[in-house]
């Protein structure tokens, strides 16, 4: 049977049938429901969202989630207690420590790579090779409502790469990269156009498309119209990119990461499916301890504030929180007081939607040189994130003509972490 790109159908019909598909009605062989049964019920309610905080460069697990104070490689920092009995994290995270009852830690990640690019992509895509969409693009594709006006995946970072994150998914699910809190390029309406013209212009454009669309492929034109809808919605929300309230900045911090996290919260409140904020930089081959103090000091208060605000607004049940890096750092401290790349035993913190809080998954041995229990990798993490927000990662992607599993079939979700 030929697998054709299905262009003749109405895109709204197509989306409706995808929803039926998603709700568990799909019956084609090999295609189970896209949503897990437990999630299907919840899906009727608020849509799940994701907050990603990416610590670029490789945050040291010794200086964050998996300390080994007083051991050969432990470094100079000590542990502090959290509200969770038996869970201690580094003293560099005092504010976050107070919020650890909302999060869990996975300490037993072995990425089998020490390469920035490979590690980062593994953590983003759940695969080590090949062209696959990032967590944010997958979330946008399967969680975003058709009528959600804003882009499904927004990445806020004042520097860093603009990746093509959608792979074979539609371009609207690719990350929209914001340069910090600056408005997206071309957001502002051209000046000098009379107000009456603006209104009539939009009608004119729609009329033109309607006329052109008569007797032609509706799905393509609807797709095109959708991008203009989104654009108009963004233009109508330019206040998000205007100055942020001082008292909020006082709490989040008057620095780019603080501003970015504040914007992230507001975007989540506006319903954006996945928001990612990158914090630079953790690649401390020299002066590891001084630089981790500097970076985590900035991260700690801001992140704790953001997490607290999300909880306070009742959003935590719906928003998956991910704090991750492309790998950890070596136990051995080099002669520049630095730590080098270390993918063999590193950590992430996560919580919110679908995740049991207050858990520690896995462990490393006494001196932190290897995983000693429950070894997992980027593939397992990816499955876990997907399942947590109700996307059945064992299934194939919903794209005509291709048969691509959402998560790597060689891995599976960390079941004990899913609530």
């Amino acid at each position: 049977m030929a697998l054709h790109r299905n262009q003749g159908c109405n895109v709204l019909d197509h989306r409706m049938s995808r929803r039926n598909f998603v709700m568990g009605a799909g019956a084609a062989a090999g295609f189970g429901p896209l949503l897990t049964p437990a999630m299907a019920k919840q899906a009727k309610g608020k849509q799940k969202q994701i907050l990603q905080v990416y610590l670029q460069g490789g945050v040291s697990q010794f200086e964050s989630w998996d300390c080994k104070p007083g051991t050969k490689y432990g470094g100079p920092f000590r542990e502090i207690q959290t509200p969770v009995p038996g869970m201690k994290i580094c003293e560099l995270l005092p504010y976050t420590a107070q919020k650890m009852h909302l999060l869990s830690i996975i300490r037993s990640i072995n990425l089998k790579t020490n390469d920035h690019g490979v590690g980062r992509l593994f953590m983003e895509k759940g695969r080590t090779v090949g062209d696959y969409p990032y967590v944010g693009s997958v979330a946008s594709r399967y969680l975003k409502n058709a009528n959600d006006p804003l882009p499904g995946y927004i990445h806020i970072s004042t520097r860093g790469l603009t990746d093509n994150t959608a792979a074979f998914l539609e371009a609207q699910h690719a990350q929209m990269k914001l340069e910090g809190v600056a408005p997206p390029e071309n957001l502002l309406q051209r000046s000098g156009i009379p107000e009456s013209v603006l209104t009539k212009s939009e009608q004119f454009r729609l009329q033109l498309n309607k006329q052109f669309g008569t007797g032609r492929s509706k799905s393509l034109i609807d797709s095109y119209d959708a991008s203009f809808d989104q654009a108009n919605q963004l233009m109508a929300r330019k206040h998000l990119f205007e100055s942020q309230p001082e008292k909020d900045l006082d709490r989040y911090g008057h620095h780019p990461f603080g501003q970015n996290c504040l914007l992230a919260r507001r975007l989540l409140e506006e319903g954006v499916t996945c928001v990612k904020v990158t914090h630079h930089g953790y690649d401390t081959h020299a002066e590891n301890f001084n630089f981790h103090i500097e970076q985590l000091d900035e991260f700690d208060k801001t992140f704790a504030t953001l997490l607290g605000d999300i909880e306070e607004r009742g959003m935590l049940d719906n928003v998956l929180i991910m704090v991750y890096s492309e790998f950890g750092r070596t136990p051995k401290i080099n002669n520049k007081y630095g730590r080098d790349h270390w993918g063999a035993s590193c950590s992430v913190a996560l919580g919110g939607a679908g995740i049991q809080p207050g858990a520690i998954i896995g462990a490393t041995n006494e001196d932190g040189t290897e995983v000693s229990d429950r070894e997992v990798d980027g593939g397992h993490l990816f499955h876990t994130y997907m399942q947590a927000v109700g996307i059945n990662s064992i299934n194939d992607h919903d794209i005509a003509g291709r048969s691509v599993p959402i998560g790597d079939p060689a891995a599976s979700a960390i079941e004990e972490l899913l609530s």
Binding site: G57, P69, G70, K72, G75, P76, F77, R78, R159, H280, G281, Y282, D283, T284, H285, A286, E287, F289, N290, F291, I293, E294, Q295, I333, N335, K336, G338
Partner: protein, 386 residues
């Protein structure tokens, strides 16, 4: 004690103590019997210079990177990254402190005994500069003003002033009686913002007043290129106490990349600096820092504009090196460089000025003698380079 005229060019190693972990700092005790070292562990390590006996003092919960002694030489003070100051008898058999003082939140980066022997000054990551009475360990001053971590604080020999330098190169001169800032000097050459990784690097990694009080030496870094990879220049400055101006910069005569962890005035007049290089080796640089040398360096100096520095991608967080009207301090190059095969992370002259102790990244504490070798075969050689 007569001042020994050292001959840096003849410097050779006479003894080496070994420890399992890399060392962070070292000091001779004032009587010269011991050398003490901090390391990348929780202990403070003591070697008897003659008998080689080793003892480990325990009490800190983090690393120690700075030590000082009481004026009478009987006490050791240690500043730990656990925020505590340790107080030890230097001879103690049982290696426990007789007091631990929680002096700061976060690292206690520095401790220095006052000239009158009654107090110590400390600074830490809580941005505070504090003084404490030794008699009862009570805080006598708690001074704010640094916006970023102060790395070192030293008493001026007059006992009435302190100098501290922070991550951003701000040197504060404190009036200890009035407990406030008397002067500020911006050694902005000693700090840099790494644009790629978004962090500042700087701070005095060592600090020392000339015994006569006319100068202050601060050692650290300059010219940040890629500080997360250890790519910046080791540099020290000399500040003229009277004018409160930076008198000159001290740089290794051969271009080096790394950190200057030590600076010390030798009684005979030269200045020595210890460097940890990016490539894992180190050096001790010797400088003639008298007025004539500085003057001739100033005369040779071509107007150094910022363009001569590597292209700066930094934003305006980095202050310009000098305004158009203020002359830039001249740079003195070392006249002799002693190569060390490992990074030098701390150094100290022996009380008689004959020797240098260096704390190395391979865990060795090496005693070097600045004199012609006596001709013994049993001692390990230190490579000397002219």
């Amino acid at each position: 004690m007569t001042t020994f005229s050292a001959i840096p060019e003849e410097t050779h190693e006479i003894k080496r103590f070994e420890h399992e972990e890399p060392l962070t700092t070292c000091r001779f005790s004032p009587d010269g019997r011991y050398v003490f070292a901090g390391a990348e562990d929780l202990g403070v390590h003591r070697w008897d210079v003659k008998s080689d006996a080793k003892a480990t003092l325990e009490g800190h919960e983090s690393w120690v990177r700075r030590m000082d002694f009481s004026v009478d030489g009987s006490q050791l003070f240690t500043a730990g990254w656990d925020g505590q100051i340790g107080f030890w008898d230097i001879d103690a058999e049982n290696a426990q402190p007789h007091h631990m003082l929680q002096a700061h939140r976060g690292f206690a980066r520095w401790v220095n005994a006052s000239p009158d022997g009654k107090s110590i000054a400390t600074c830490g990551n809580d941005l505070r500069v504090r003084t404490w009475k030794l008699k009862n360990y009570k805080m006598t001053a708690d001074m704010g003003g640094h916006d970023r971590h102060p790395y070192a604080v030293m008493y001026h020999p007059d006992g009435e002033h302190l100098a501290s330098e922070d991550l951003m190169g701000w040197i504060h001169i404190w009036d200890t009686r009035r407990r406030r800032i008397a002067n500020k000097i911006h050694a902005d050459i000693m700090t840099g913002y790494d644009n790629k990784f978004a962090a500042d690097m700087g701070g005095a990694r060592d600090m020392e007043f000339h015994p006569a009080g006319e100068r202050l030496a601060c050692a650290g870094i300059s010219n940040v290129v890629n500080s997360f990879a250890g790519q910046q220049d080791p540099l020290a400055i000399l500040v003229d106490w009277n004018t409160k101006q930076i008198e000159c910069h001290l740089e290794a005569k051969d271009k080096a990349t790394g950190v200057m962890w030590g600076v010390s005035f030798h009684p005979s007049g030269f200045v020595a600096c210890g460097i940890a290089k990016q490539n894992g080796s180190g050096s001790i640089e010797f400088f003639k820092a008298d007025k004539e040398s500085i003057e001739s360096a100033r005369n040779e100096q071509t107007p150094v504009k910022d363009e001569e520095q590597p292209p700066s991608e930094t934003d305006d967080k980095t202050d310009s090196k000098a305004s158009e009207t203020k002359p830039i301090a001249p740079t003195l190059k070392s006249y002799f460089s002693l190569a060390v095969d490992k990074c030098v992370r701390g150094m100290d002259f022996s009380p008689d000025g004959k020797q240098i102790a260096i704390a190395c990244s391979d865990g060795t504490l090496r005693i070097l003698e600045m004199d012609k070798k006596v001709g013994s075969d049993s001692e390990s050689e230190e490579k000397s380079k002219g």
